[in-house]
Symmetry: C2
């Protein structure tokens, strides 16, 4: 028998600056019952992602803000424990945008079945999921690295950045990664095969970039914004491409995010900057997922996951993203499966 009540985390307040304990509200609520066509998904792994900070704001963006006093939405891998759908049965492992709760009611269109025999199910939230597809489309559709070009990636040890750098290597580019700890730097160099690395916490980024990029920068995959990116924009080559994926340095700023304006730099280099979100490429997800899966199976793409345990650690895992605590994809393991074979 499944329990009838469960834990859930709601957005209690819209944070100013860094979120804290007053941002989140833990409540005890009923486990939902499935409507016709729905299933009940028991959360096994839950994804925390930097973009979620944006949804905590009440400003116009590419996705709706999280409503106050409702469950926070996010990526979940879970098992079906109850099914009113012909397409799913108990024990199926699924992924979808569900919520920070132990059990979710999900319609068929909200979830997708994943095959635990192909890759660990957690990859559906990482390298074979949203972060992997983000890296794939941002780099290949906007960045378009060519053999021998120099690709710089910031947030290079994160869920997206670590995949960007490896795909750039597959495409024959010279890859320079910027990250914020010696452990991450060693991971990029020794495990992922980055050509050059910069520890932005201990090095002068502008000087280190000059040294690491003697031929300038052809592609800059920007995950972080702020002063790190200011420095990269100054050494863009003619016709450089800059996919703008994230600006984590600014997400918790209370003041306006001021820096050198980029216009003259773009004119001097005839460079292109383009913002994007992964859903812009939804019609190509099949192609991207297939290619990523193939590279993983061929051993060309490695990935790392940072997994903390327990539902109660969700807020800390989320806040850790802004302190750079994660290497690769940050996940929370909420429960072990009851029915699924993992």
């Amino acid at each position: 028998m499944e329990p009838t009540s469960q834990k859930q985390i709601q957005l209690a307040e819209r944070p100013k600056g860094m979120p804290d304990s007053s941002t989140f509200k833990f409540i005890e609520t009923d486990v939902p019952k499935p409507d016709q066509g729905q299933v009940i998904v028991r959360t096994l792994y839950l994804s925390v992602d930097p973009y979620m900070r944006g949804r905590m704001q009440d400003t116009k963006s590419y996705v709706e803000p999280f409503p106050l006093n409702e469950v926070i939405q996010g990526g979940v891998v879970g098992e079906v424990v109850q099914s009113n759908s012909d397409s799913f049965e108990r024990g199926d492992v699924v992924v979808g945008m569900l919520g920070w709760q132990e059990y979710s009611a999900a319609s068929e269109k909200d979830i997708r079945k994943i095959d635990p025999t192909i890759a660990p199910v957690t990859t559906a939230l990482g390298i074979l999921g949203m972060p992997g597809l983000t890296a794939y489309f941002g780099l290949l559709h906007i960045g378009q690295p060519k053999e021998g070009e120099t690709v710089v990636v910031s947030g290079a040890a994160g869920a997206v950045g670590s995949i960007v750098g490896q795909i750039a290597k597959i495409k024959g580019a010279r890859v320079v990664g910027i990250a914020g700890s010696d452990e991450k730097i060693s991971y990029l160099k020794n495990e992922l095969g980055f050509d050059e690395t910069i520890n932005y916490k201990t090095e002068n980024v502008a000087e280190a970039l000059e040294k690491a990029c003697p031929n300038g920068v052809d592609v800059y995959f920007d995950n972080v914004g702020g002063e790190i990116s200011d420095a990269v924009y100054s050494i863009l080559n003619k016709f450089a491409r800059v996919p703008i994926c994230g600006a984590i340095s600014s997400y918790n700023k209370e003041d306006e995010d001021l820096g050198p304006r980029v216009q003259t730099k773009l004119i001097k280099s005839s460079a292109l900057m383009k913002g994007f979100v992964v859903s812009d490429y939804a019609s190509h997800f099949g192609e991207g997922a297939k290619q990523l899966g193939q590279w993983v199976q061929e051993g060309k793409l490695k990935y790392e996951e940072t997994i903390v345990e327990g539902f109660d650690s969700i807020p800390d895992a989320f806040l850790g993203l802004f302190k750079g605590e994660n290497k690769g994809k940050q996940l929370v393991k909420v429960a072990s499966p009851l029915y699924a074979q993992l």
Copy 2:
């Protein structure tokens, strides 16, 4: 007989901030003699352009800095007064990147013959020359306006901006022009048919933009940078395109040009910004010039020229660009033709 000596303006000092009389040096020098294959061009009209400010700096850019103590280079329409070339004869009217001087020696590859019976020869420095091609390629290759979309152009009454707005109208877009005087605003509305206008010197640009662009901004052709552009970046629509043509507001700034960073705005809108210079499209110039000429002949493209007279007024005409004194293309008439029939 041609005179043997002539006036020339050299770059005397690299200006900090706004150029002034110490920036320029008037000298008296010999009229050059043509080498084999060269001609001597007598300057009739001379172009002053905002981008030339960039070449007075000693920083890496898309074109080399002007050397100190050498003639300042710029667009010239002149007549051939002496020819050692089989391709040109006395009385031919030509256009080329020559210099701020009364006579230039030019090789065949440096100049192009223009036909004074098709359009006034000054158009070779304006609507049928570099500014026209800049507007054409920036708007159509980067901006790609579609019927019914909203196109905002800053520096809208300038040589480039006034053409951008008209081409956008030809393509069926709704056009909003930003300029800095009542006279310019009236020109945009009453003569060029812009749909909406904003006088940035008398109006609150952010508020006026909200009103003028109830459906947001699909294309922003940026000639000016600075706070005007900051305001436009805040109301970009999903998949907006921003050709970055110029940043005249910053060219004479001594301090770093600081403003709100654009990354989060680009992510929210999945917008594209691209810097460019007209020479990026050199291989397409023929197509562009042909289309512009056709539109002019059909009366679909109007143009204005602000012409001051006399070689000695070149520096003031140049500095006037930064005070917004010109409507349309700013030219200096240096001499009347001796041989050419205009």
